[in-house]
């Protein structure tokens, strides 16, 4: 690690920094390590863990592609293939895509809005541990020889007690609970952080667009995630373990109900992943074009609009289930409406690029990659929104191609761009531009090579999730091409990892603000101190870092000998009162352990829920038990 490179400080500020460093110091030792409660530490843990799961999910993808490369292949066999595509989808959606976006939010939002930590630092830590343990629980199944094999959305009756007799689906269902708890923790704390802890004068219309996107995303988590917990735990798991009848047609239960509830979560989920990516893109673009983003109100309203419309789309995943025509019409129209809100943003970005002075860094390469890939994915999305076409290509590789174009194009490419852009903030060193651009081109070519042929395969009728096919189907050339593409993506991933490892050790020292960027995270040292700012900033525009230095205002009068921040009013961000952040504690970790033991047991027997409740209660009492000094000193 390089020493933190801080912005220039005056003599009194240097003194204040020493005091703050003492107050915000991490606890030492192993127990201390499990007690960290600063948003940078927890956010980085989210990001690193999520990238490990990306690697695992990627290896699974390569295994699938190798199996499908030639006809009548016996490399994996049907059972293992089912397990691999299920864990691939589950890992990418629940253990990579959502958590990595949450992690970026946890890391960046408090800095961007000018405060010292998230509003509930211990809840933040608890959420991270739940996420980690949920992921470990799923993969623990590998060691007892049972992984889920009913697809990442586990439709009954296939996933029901009759057709999935092993414990794999139970593991899947309970893993969902872990990741959802984690996502809700982050959602609640980010909403409160953004609404109540902003820098003075950061009115609603000065919030950085990335923070707006996290705010909308967090509200979507709050309304969407309860649905998936009901689907996976209340309906599916209870049907499997205590013989309820939610999805059992023999007793009047309805597998379609499961699909409705699952997709009421599942479609917003796509935007839960996608909105933060859009927010990152707007941030990167503003800095790289040297101008304020074009159409800020339009972009913010589009984000909010997407958040609303996203809840009226779920049935388009179910067009093939024989729903009433009027319902299908409604959901077709709603699905097409998404093109309006997304299109608005794309035009705003084009206008920004057009009228700005563009710097073509590696990060910008990924942004352009996004625009290209995502527009194609968006177009196939509009195609799929039309019922007749959807009925033709439902459950074929056309759909696989579509959602990889929108998810990889819409989320992964901006995320990689964001990673290149914020790497100097994370590490204090610049990421290698040359290798960054090389890895972009390999990934871009590899991506299109992998997924474009899948459109054609789908139109030719190749169903998804088959483990092999016969030679006379004529699917082999395109499949071989896709497999070559997948290996190219893997190569791009390796170049990216090499770049990260090399730059972290030997990259050019970045300084606090290498891009001359617009938002407040660049006012901190690189990497940031635990308290972010020696003095909290007061903002006077949407682009506070572009305010001339002599016009900047800072907050004084906060106590530096404890973890103190500022609560501001919701709309106008006027200082309301001081606020003491919770410090490090081992209890969130212990609470997560206790809940994990109970929830893991619950897949065997329902009564283990009471163990979860009992252990959780003990830990929560420890967590909340009053400690000296009882009174908050003024």
């Amino acid at each position: 690690m390089t020493p933190a490179q801080s912005p220039p400080l005056t003599a009194p500020e240097l003194e204040e920094r020493e005091a703050l460093r003492r107050a915000w110091q991490h606890p030492s030792g192993i127990v201390g390590w499990f007690s960290f409660a600063t948003h940078q530490a927890i956010g980085m843990r989210y990001i690193v863990t999520a990238f490990v799961f990306l690697l695992i999910g990627g290896i699974e993808a390569i295994m699938m592609r190798l199996q499908l490369a030639v006809h009548d292949n016996t490399l994996l066999g049907p059972h293992l293939y089912n397990e691999i595509f299920t864990t691939h989808g589950t890992t990418m959606m629940f253990l990579f895509a959502v958590p990595v976006m949450e992690g970026m939010g946890v890391y960046l939002v408090p800095m961007m809005i000018g405060t010292r930590n998230v509003a509930f630092p211990r809840l933040n830590a608890f959420g991270y541990w739940m996420y980690l343990f949920g992921g470990l629980l799923l993969y623990a199944g590998m060691f007892v020889g049972t992984l889920p094999d009913a697809g990442w959305f586990a439709y009954p009756p296939l996933s029901g007690p009759q057709y999935s007799a092993t414990k794999g689906v139970d593991l899947w269902a309970q893993m969902i609970t872990f990741t959802e708890i984690s996502a809700m923790c982050v959602a609640v704390e980010l909403i409160v952080t953004i609404l109540r802890l902003r820098a003075p004068n950061m009115t609603l219309n000065r919030i950085p667009i990335f923070c707006w996107s996290m705010l909308v995303q967090s509200f979507m988590v709050i309304f969407a995630m309860p649905a998936v917990m009901i689907a996976s735990t209340v309906m599916l798991l209870n049907d499997r373990t205590i013989a309820t009848h939610f999805v059992n047609p023999a007793e009047g239960g309805d597998p379609l109900m499961y699909q409705h509830v699952f997709w009421f979560f599942g479609h917003p989920e796509v935007y839960i992943i996608f909105l933060p990516a859009l927010g990152m893109l707007s941030s990167i673009l503003e800095t790289h074009t040297r101008r304020r983003i074009f159409g800020y109100p339009a972009i913010v309203l589009s984000l909010v609009g997407t958040g609303f419309v996203a809840f009226g789309l779920w049935v388009h995943h179910m067009f093939a289930t024989g729903l009433p025509q009027i319902g299908e019409d409604y959901f077709t129209a709603a699905s097409m409406m998404i093109a309006i809100t997304t299109g608005t943003q794309i035009f705003c970005w084009i206008a920004t690029i057009w009228t700005g002075r563009l710097q073509l860094t590696a990060a910008m390469h990924f942004i352009f990659g996004f625009l290209f890939i995502f527009v194609i994915g968006g177009l196939t999305g509009v195609m799929l929104a039309s019922v007749p076409l959807d009925l033709q290509v439902h459950d074929t590789f056309f759909v696989v191609a579509h959602f990889h174009y929108v998810l990889i194009g819409g989320a992964l490419f901006p995320l990689f761009g964001a990673f290149h852009y914020w790497f100097p903030k994370f590490t204090g060193r610049l990421i290698g531009e040359r290798l960054g651009k090389i890895s972009f081109w390999i990934l871009f070519v590899g991506f299109n090579l992998t997924f474009f042929p899948m459109h054609l395969l789908g139109l030719k009728g190749m169903p998804r999730r088959i483990y092999t096919y016969s030679a006379e189907m004529g699917w082999e050339p395109a499949n071989m091409l896709a497999t070559i593409g997948a290996c190219t993506i893997a190569l791009g991933g390796i170049v990216f990892m090499v770049n990260v490892i090399r730059s972290r050790k030997r990259g050019r020292v970045a300084g606090p603000d290498p891009w001359d960027a617009s938002t407040l995270e660049w006012a901190t040292a690189s990497p940031p101190e635990n308290f972010n700012f020696v003095r909290l900033p007061v903002v006077s525009s949407r682009t506070p870092m572009w305010t001339p230095a002599q016009d900047r205002v800072t907050v004084v009068g906060l106590r530096n000998d404890r973890r103190e921040g500022l609560v501001t009013t919701l709309v106008d961000a006027q200082p309301h009162r001081r606020f003491v952040f919770a410090g490090p504690s081992i209890w969130p970790f212990l609470a997560a352990i206790g809940v994990t033991i109970g929830l893991a047991g619950s897949i065997v027997q329902f009564s283990w829920y009471y163990v979860a409740a009992a252990l959780g209660t003990i830990a929560f009492i420890g967590w909340f038990w009053p400690r000296r000094p009882f009174e908050v000193q003024p």
Partner: protein, 204 residues
Amino acid sequence: MSEARTLNVADLPAFEISNKSPLWLGQTLLCVIEGTMFSILLAMYFYYRLGFSVWPPPGVQLPHTLIPTLAWIPLALSVLGSYWASEGAKRDDRKWMLIGLLVNLAFALVFLGMRAYEWVTLNFSWSSDLHGSIFWAILYLHTIDISGDLLMTAVLIVILARGRYGEQQRLGVHVDSVVWYFLVAIWVPLYAVIYWGPHVLGAP
């Protein structure tokens, strides 16, 4: 660098017990999560109802309405306790916090006792038929939530009785009342649907 360009906040209070507290907002959002969950369960209830001509299916006894209706009396009184406790917390009045929480806990326990009595007299379970499954899911999850909040109330009573507490715990008393208001309020539609629903909408 000029010294004048600073905003001094030293005079602002370091603590406040009110609905402007970040913890209040966080707790409210947790209630929204719970509310969303129950709303989806209610939607499921009606969806399942559509699949049957008679609801609950013949042979299943209709849910009782007498005891759950009478149980509103202790439940309403418990809200009064919550209110006293939260007002006491704002004034830093230990006596009223304790009285309020104890009233809350006592009447809530009476309510839970009545619910338990009614449970054992039902002739269907979660695994007997679909109506039983959705009925029990709603009732069980609400009971779990109530029990969780009562545990929190009990812990707060112990902390207050020991007398070693500060603003954080007083704020805890305040948001504890927020959770209780929510759990009572959400019971209105849940109660109406699962107890009166079959009586009103049950026939073909």
